[in-house]
């Protein structure tokens, strides 16, 4: 596992920006079909609700996750879609992030991108939000 390999995978997957994006995907890789309310999902991954909502939009828009349509049900069904275009790269990244050391390396890479990239939104302290 090298920083370069992680960087390559993040480049190919493109959409991942925030550590919460990664942790959501890690959660769904362990629970590929989860029927949950968003509040519980936020508790599972350990981020604030607004961040979870934003990250969900990110991965759903990227086609990595499918969510059941909004309805009268308070819970939504989330289905990981590893067969998407980015599925192979995502699987490789999640394999790396499956260990503590690997996860921290990917989060480190994401933070570096946040601080140096043109899309950095000034969010300087995601570490505090990462459990």
């Amino acid at each position: 596992m090298t920083a370069k390999r992680i960087g390559d995978l993040l480049d190919r997957i493109e959409c991942l920006r925030h550590p919460c994006d990664l942790d959501l995907l890690l959660f769904f890789s362990r629970h590929p079909r989860a029927y949950l309310i968003t509040e519980r999902l936020a508790e599972y991954v350990g981020y604030e609700l607004p961040q979870v909502a934003q990250s969900l939009e990110t991965v759903i828009t990227a086609g990595l996750l499918r969510r059941s349509p909004d309805s009268t049900h308070p819970a939504r069904l989330y289905v990981l879609t590893p067969g998407s275009t980015r599925g192979g790269w995502l699987s490789s990244l999640l394999r790396i992030a499956a260990t503590r050391k690997g996860r921290l390396a990917v989060i480190h890479a994401l933070k570096q991108r946040q601080s140096s990239g043109p899309s950095a939104d000034g969010e300087s302290g995601p570490v505090a939000a990462v459990k």
Binding site: R30, R33, Y35, I37, T72, L77
Partner: protein
């Protein structure tokens, strides 16, 4: 009930206990404390349904992550990922609260997911006592849940976490609503543990009552062994040999004459004596005689491992290994520590059905007694079951039983009171004459045949085995024949006066 209306679980041994399966649409409650095997049973129910009976299924999880379940299932050889890829399985991770509310919805997302793959089975793992949403009775809450599942015409298995065991658990309100209740327990026996399963209730069909033991076996899943006491087929219970002409030769020179030419076919013979009295030697000769006649024999040995039995056979001129290689003999050894009698009996049944022996030797019955406890009914029930099994398959069976009394016998079976179940009893004794222990054999019981109950001397010759000596010995033999004594088995034999010695018979 027609078989098509029954859902087969596909779990080894369970459908036999359920007399074919569970009525379709039943709500099945799996009750038991942590570690009793509820999850394994439930997952296997869904896995076998999808794999063997073309019935897709859904697994609902509250606590166990699906990836762990997939990993654990792989230990049993169940590829859940493959079933998911093939659209025969969906695993949904949710919370109990969401699940409960979900089933009350007319347009349930969860049940729509199940319908998408045509699910016929659902397993919900880790239910706890359900709280009523409006503060009502838990029984009502469970009833609503059952209704939701029933609406989809799925056969549902629900694992209910319970910290209670025994009668307290049986009062759980969910148990009144469920159609079928399967109680799983794990209990200490000596210093080991025994898993057991009991169908406490099942609406719409008959099933085998009582607690049956089971194992969780890597590469297989659950293996359930019907309790040994449970009645089998009527055929088995009514079986017996009524052929009064056919005889099964014993293989002991001189013994056939004492038992009217041999044992009856499918009879039960008990050979009783202290260790070293020659019981195992007789057993090996019984097997060798069968092989000589082209008959297959099964030897179940509990006390001696196979290598030792082979060596013993060699010492009396029997090449047992060759008989095994030619499928004329089957040697099955199970050490008696941590016996699970239901499993042990199921294994014997399987061997008898597969190998189809005409002769069986069990060495020894007393080892079962030590393991099962002579004072409990288990030993007698086991013996009754095995006698019925052998009679059903028309097997002539010989059971060795170690009697601890070195000289003489005050009782044939000691505390193991099963002698009334056997057809023939042969007593093997040491008789101390002068400074020598000599072998004595008495045919004490021959059901359906006359017997003289005369005590005969026998000897075991290296390389040849045992033979019963004629009552009148050759003149050249210096020792005094048995006929020259009184009270041989009474522990205090007396020499007759020479003039009192009767003529040979």
């Amino acid at each position: 009930m027609p078989e098509s209306d029954l859902v087969k679980t596909g779990i080894k041994g369970l459908d036999e206990i359920l007399f074919g399966g569970i009525p379709r649409g039943n709500i099945i409650l799996l009750a038991g404390t942590a570690g009793t095997g509820k999850t394994t049973l439930g997952v296997e129910f869904v896995y076998r349904g999808a794999r063997q009976f073309n019935e897709p299924g859904v697994i609902v999880l509250f606590e166990v992550a699906p990836d762990k379940l997939i990993r654990d299932a792989a230990l049993f050889g169940w590829d859940l990922r493959e079933l998911e890829r093939d659209g025969r399985l969906k695993m949904v991770f949710t919370t109990r609260q969401v699940f409960q509310q979900e089933l009350l919805q007319a347009d349930s997302v969860l049940l729509a997911e199940a319908a998408e793959i045509g699910a016929r089975r659902i397993f919900v793992d880790g239910l706890v006592r359900l709280p009523e949403p409006n503060g009502g009775e838990p029984r009502e809450a469970f009833h609503l849940l059952a209704e939701g599942l029933h609406r989809e015409n799925m056969t549902a298995m629900l694992a209910l976490e319970s910290t209670m065991v025994g009668p307290a658990a049986a009062r759980a309100p969910e148990e009144f609503v469920a159609d079928t209740i399967i109680q799983l327990t794990i209990e200490p026996v000596q210093r080991a543990v025994l898993r057991s399963v009991e169908v406490a209730k099942s609406r719409g069909h008959e099933y085998a009552l009582g607690r049956h033991s089971f194992r969780i076996v890597n590469g297989q899943g659950l293996e359930i062994y019907r309790r040994v006491q449970a009645p089998r087929s009527l055929q088995r219970e009514g079986s017996a040999a009524f052929d009064t002409t056919a005889r099964v030769a014993t293989g002991i020179p001189g013994l056939d004459e004492l038992v009217n030419g041999g044992y009856f076919v499918a009879s039960t013979t008990l050979v009783v004596g202290i260790s070293g009295a020659g019981k195992s030697v007789m057993a090996l000769q019984f097997i060798a005689e069968g092989a000589r006649r082209g008959e297959r024999s099964l030897m179940i040995t509990l006390d001696e491992p196979p290598g030792q039995v082979l060596r013993n056979a060699q010492s009396i001129g029997i090449d047992l290994q060759s008989l095994i290689d030619r499928r004329l003999a089957h040697l099955w050894y199970e050490p008696p520590q941590e016996f699970e009698i239901d499993r042990h009996f199921a294994q014997i049944e399987a061997i008898v059905e597969d190998f189809k022996p005409q002769r069986v030797v069990i060495d020894s019955l007393s080892t079962y007694g030590s393991s099962l406890g002579a004072t409990e009914r288990s030993f007698r029930d086991f013996f009754h079951a095995i006698v019925a099994l052998m009679k059903e398959h028309q097997v002539t069976a010989v059971y060795n039983h170690e009697n601890p009394e070195m000289l003489g016998m005050s009782s044939m079976m000691g505390e193991f009171k099963v002698s009334s179940l056997v057809d023939n009893i042969i007593l093997m004794n040491w008789v101390e004459l002068g400074d020598t222990f000599r072998h004595a054999l008495t045919v004490a019981k021959m059901r359906g045949m006359p017997t003289s109950r005369t005590t005969h001397e026998c000897e075991v010759v290296n390389g040849e085995g045992m033979k019963v000596l004629p009552r009148r010995l050759a003149v050249a033999v210096p020792s005094v024949p048995f006929a020259g004594y009184l009270g041989l088995i009474s522990r205090a034999p007396e020499r007759r006066a020479p003039k009192e010695v009767p003529e040979a018979s």
